[in-house]
Symmetry: C2
Subunit: 319 residues, 2 copies
């Protein structure tokens, strides 16, 4: 199938075409040499009539075990009740060494497997430095073109990757659960700053109200035009879905009214262009004649140069 | 104080000089424009007689709440009993928005605050994309030059940042604790692959043996020249310190015998050079005349270009 036909089918919302395009993104992330076809896809996608960055992007993050997948499932159902097409990217930062990703998330999302208006895709970063920052916006672009009005990004773990993903979302939801480590741990992981909405999930467990109180104290320290609300949910029972949806809608309204929506999307476009440009330069480093980078590394190890001088040589070799 | 004097003092192991040099690294990570002085420092450090990459680098990672800081403290004491100088980098991936880092780790390490042979430093990535990959090797270089024979890197959270840090360590210790989420969660976060040694901490709690068994099942699936041992500890009581030290020594011996030590250090040198080169190119993007990147982002948002064409324009503008 040629690229134009594939893109046309994805635009019509055909799941297999959408899946193939995201696979192209993922494969190219693992091996930038394979980015040629992807470049064609992106050029073709840009010719569409649908405005780019039209989808509302909602990120869900938090420590392992807080129930992100279950909460994502709850949100899928909530948005489906509104009749909108939903895309889901489950971003797995794991496994630079095997490229593997377990199926855990997808298993729990099986109940949407037969809904043609829900696209669920698990994606790993494949060990490419900056891989998520590179691949996620491009996968978003595919789901966007496929007519998804809402795209949920679920990230595993809490760290720089999550912060990078938060930069791509219009709204970032940070999930916590009682007994998963205290608020200082949460603050250490930097999640207070990236949250637009907090969810205390597993709210039927002991300690839920204490977590809410602690979060309120910590989150309330700063002054900001938007003060992240705290929603309690029991995601596996669907409890709190309406409250969460209301909080998300309120944040969306704030984004539009304040002009923050446009600012975030411009920042996302900047990051997207920059990540692609850096990946291309990185790929050029790897393909410099005579493996220059290896030779420089040997010299650095032997104290025959310093890292900045070596970097200068590397950049000079690009020209 | 001029750079040469500062570097000389750091080489003599003066804590204030070491701290100032790491601050230079950290500040430059937040603002690459300030990397000028750092470049001088690195050139000066390279003139030393101590072999670069001489220190043994041990990474400790795991989910928030498993007790990484306490385990780090336990290892500091264990290595101090051998009389070696120990450096500690507590890497905090948090807070791209405020630059803030809480003091939690440092508070718990206070009992080493007056030991002149222990250098403890908390470092945040300051929101610079690829910040950890950039800053950590340079901070390691400073601690190395300061005569640390062992450097412990403690990372918060589990994700891409931790994988990046694992690439910098000779030995990566992955900590788990009973009841912190099941093994599938751990596997999802990709920590099985980065572990050279597993620690099940809080081994006096219910479920510790179950965690060990589960880990043994999962970790035992693959065949490898090095099969990560599983050590149980109760870090706050110092229990298991000897076992952990023995496992670390055994891994170190394996690294040296197999030639893997040299391979890992070469890879680290490669990454270090590449990260500096990419940061320099990135800084050039940001300073292109007339804010070219912003203009390209506007065009991308308006569907007037595609991300690859925009990236090409950006790279072309470098020349």
């Amino acid at each position: 199938m040629d690229v134009r036909e594939l893109v046309d089918q994805a635009r019509q919302g055909r799941p297999r075409a959408v899946a193939r395009l995201i696979s192209l993104v993922e494969n190219a992330a693992g091996s930038p040499a394979r980015a040629g076809e992807l470049r064609e896809v992106m050029a073709e996608l840009a010719t569409g009539t649908r405005k780019p960055y039209a989808a509302r992007v909602i990120g869900l993050t938090g420590s392992p075990g807080v129930g992100k997948s279950t909460a994502t499932g709850m949100l899928i159902r909530a948005f489906r009740r509104r009749g909108v097409r939903v895309g889901v990217l489950a971003v797995d930062p794991s496994s630079p060494f095997t490229g593997g990703a377990l199926l855990g998330d997808r298993v729990r999302m099986q109940d949407h497997a037969t809904d043609p208006e829900v696209f669920i895709r698990s994606m790993s970063s494949r060990g490419h430095l900056g891989g998520l920052a590179w691949a996620t916006p491009q996968a978003l672009r595919v789901l966007d073109a496929a007519g998804c009005e809402v795209i949920l990004i679920e990230t595993v773990g809490v760290g720089q990757a999550e912060v990078d993903v938060a930069r791509m979302a219009d709204t970032t939801v940070v999930l916590l659960a009682p007994g998963m480590g205290d608020g200082v741990q949460a603050a250490k992981a930097g999640i207070l700053e990236v949250a637009d909405v907090f969810v205390v999930n597993k709210a039927d467990r002991d300690g839920a109200q204490a977590t809410v109180r602690e979060l309120r104290t910590m989150a309330g320290l700063g002054e900001a035009p938007w003060r992240p609300p705290i929603v309690t949910t029991v995601a596996y029972k669907g409890e709190g879905a309406d409250d969460l949806l209301a909080a998300l809608d309120k944040h969306q309204a704030y984004l539009e009214e304040s002009g923050e929506a446009r600012r975030r999307r411009l920042a996302r476009a900047r990051d997207e262009i920059e990540a692609i440009a850096l990946a291309q330069l990185r790929s050029r480093f790897a393909h410099l004649h005579g493996d220059r980078l290896d030779a420089l590394a040997e010299r650095l190890l032997g104290a025959a140069t310093d890292p900045y001088a070596a970097a200068d040589e590397l950049i000079a070799a690009l020209a």
